[in-house]
């Protein structure tokens, strides 16, 4: 069995999900990567260090990559009787996983928090009903596609050397492959990387608005050297970019301290932050579900508690 890991290039480097998945999979035997992007030696070396034996490199230029990458992967695994194909939860990753499943008739097990290929079966664990219930599912076919949650596994370098790099020709899939990327925009945010930060200040709709209403979130993050995160309600309202969204459809964070400010604690938000070591919540509603996971809950107005906290920290 070969374990395939899908890797999308992000800022010239392998996606964090691909390094996490390779770290998990390298103990199982042969590992191969389909790398989609411009490509460079440092990126391939990083994949090798995390356990990739072979990197198949596909550069789709300005075409939207998913249909092309799915066709390329289907060609690469054709003929093999069993394969495990691993993906992260990002948009392109999910697009390729879905298309590959339809192309090869293989099932997709999504939202995986653990993957266990034992014997001739692959058992995938996921959490449903807002992370309250654990389900283990076995795939009954030889070729299985798994989409794993971010940070389900930690990325750790192994003792692998540089991988063999093989160029993959861009397949022709006709009209299905005809979507093109016209512009690329990066929405920068200041401060440390949200997923790596040891302190995260999460802001919710209770902050009341963008700009000056939101300012104490940014200020508090600045003072503590932390990163700013947000709920989907806030992202949808356009107060902050999607790259700050934490939760089921956003990023997963596990900082030392998470401070939830004006966040109700919907289950879709909780799945993205409930594994933080210490959770502090400020909410004016004593019944807010966020308090059920908080180590310290302050029932109060964010516009009173946060400025007081900021002054106290500034005075230190």
């Amino acid at each position: 069995m070969t374990t395939w890991v899908f890797c999308e290039e992000v800022d010239g480097a392998p996606s964090s999900s691909s390094l996490e998945l390779l770290s998990k999979a390298r103990g199982w035997g042969d590992t191969a990567v389909l790398y989609v992007g411009v490509g460079n030696d440092a990126a391939f070396a990083a994949l090798g260090a995390h356990g990739a034996s072979t990197v198949h490199h596909l550069d789709t230029g300005d075409a939207l990559p998913a249909p092309l990458a799915a066709a390329a992967l289907a060609n690469l695994v054709e003929g093999a009787s069993s394969d495990l194909l691993l993906f992260g939860m990002g948009s392109t990753e999910r697009d390729v996983a879905g298309r590959l499943s339809a192309r090869t008739g293989s099932p997709v097990l999504s939202n995986a928090t653990d993957i266990d290929p034992t014997g001739d079966q692959v058992i995938v664990t996921n959490e449903i009903l807002g992370g309250t219930t654990k389900v283990m599912t076995a795939a009954t076919t030889g070729r299985v596609i798994v989409v794993a949650r971010p940070k389900a596994f930690s990325a750790e370098r192994g003792d692998g050397g540089s991988p063999e790099v093989v160029a993959v020709e861009v397949p022709d899939v006709g009209h299905a492959g005809s979507a093109v990327v016209l512009e690329r925009h990066v929405e920068e945010s200041d401060g440390p990387d949200l997923e790596a930060a040891s302190i995260v200040i999460g802001g919710g709709r209770g902050m009341g608005g963008a700009d000056d209403k939101w300012e104490s979130v940014t200020k508090l993050a600045g003072l503590l050297g932390g990163a700013v995160g947000a709920t989907r309600a806030v992202v949808d309202a356009g107060w902050v970019p999607y790259s700050l969204q934490i939760g089921q459809t956003g990023k997963t964070v596990k900082p030392d301290v998470y401070i939830a400010c004006g966040i109700s604690g919907a289950m879709q938000h909780l799945v993205g932050m409930k594994d933080s070591s210490t959770i502090i919540a400020i909410n004016k509603d004593a019944e807010a579900p966020i308090f059920s996971v908080a180590d310290l809950g302050i029932v109060g107005d964010v516009h009173k508690v946060m400025p007081a906290l900021i002054s106290a920290l500034e005075a230190r």
């Binding site: 999910r94 009209h175 906290l309």
Partner: protein
């Protein structure tokens, strides 16, 4: 232009979900509601129909037990013209690929120029079905759209990415998946609710569509995850911030 919106009926998220002890599938009551996520797709479809005018129609496509059709009526009341429901006992607990095969067969039979779906559903949130569908229909997919524009027979979207967004374009036929930030869905008005009762709803089975459900996965076990212990909850009387300072000191981050 023929627009189809894939909508899911789900048990009301406001009520606690129960698993059928025999199969471990989520129990599906007769009364199911429209997945809130799919109101965005319906709204995007309706706005396109209004922009194009008389030549455009909006059909809902849903694989679900038809039950009372409460969820489908909600979407019809928003303004969709008609609905196709695939209801077949053999589809209970169907996996995403089976769902995609069933919807693809119904869409091919009915015809479409644009298919719209949500990025992930509220109850299942596997988030891969629309891409399986796009592949089976052999069309490009403009996924994770947070803004949608039409330009003749081209659709252009702002596609959400990990780092920001890309502007992406494809010509029809195509599939679109929309995020919840894309538009503000309308609430049905009284007239819409009355009209919805008379709009055509066709029901089909797997045999009608020539699809045979296969399942390639088995649930092995289901167990509760121990809940995190709640800590100290205090009412702020002006001193709440001191508690936070103390907690930050305890966590050794200040």
């Amino acid at each position: 232009m023929k627009i189809a919106v894939c909508v899911k009926q789900i048990p009301d998220p406001a009520t606690p979900y129960e698993l059928d002890p025999g199969t471990n599938f989520v129990a599906r009551p007769d009364d199911q509601v429209l997945d809130d996520t799919d109101r965005y797709g319906v709204e995007v479809g309706l706005q396109l129909v209004e922009e194009i005018g008389e030549d455009a129609t909006l059909t809902l496509v849903s694989m679900s037990p038809s039950g009372t059709l409460q969820g489908i009526r909600q979407a019809l009341a928003m303004g969709a013209d008609r609905a196709i429901i695939i209801d077949d006992g053999s589809l209970r607990g169907a996996d995403a690929l089976t769902t995609a095969k069933v919807l693809a067969a119904a869409l091919k039979e009915d015809g479409f120029d644009l298919v719209i779906a949500g990025t992930e559903s509220t109850d299942g949130y596997a988030g891969v079905m629309p891409q399986q569908l796009a592949e089976l229909l052999d069309v490009p997919s403009l996924s994770f759209a947070r803004k949608v524009e039409r330009d003749g027979d081209k659709i252009r979207v702002e596609r959400q990415t990990q780092a920001g967004y890309n502007v992406v374009e494809a010509s029809l036929p195509a599939l679109l998946t929309v995020t919840s930030g894309v538009v503000e869905p309308r609430y049905p008005n009284f007239k819409g609710i009355m009209q919805a009762k008379k709009k055509p709803v066709e029901t089909k089975t797997c045999a009608d569509l020539g699809v045979e459900p296969v399942s390639q996965q088995i649930i092995q076990s289901v167990e509760p995850i121990p809940a995190r212990q709640a800590g100290e909850i205090v009412e702020d009387e002006g001193e709440g911030y001191l508690k936070i300072v103390a907690k930050l000191e305890e966590a050794k981050v200040i």
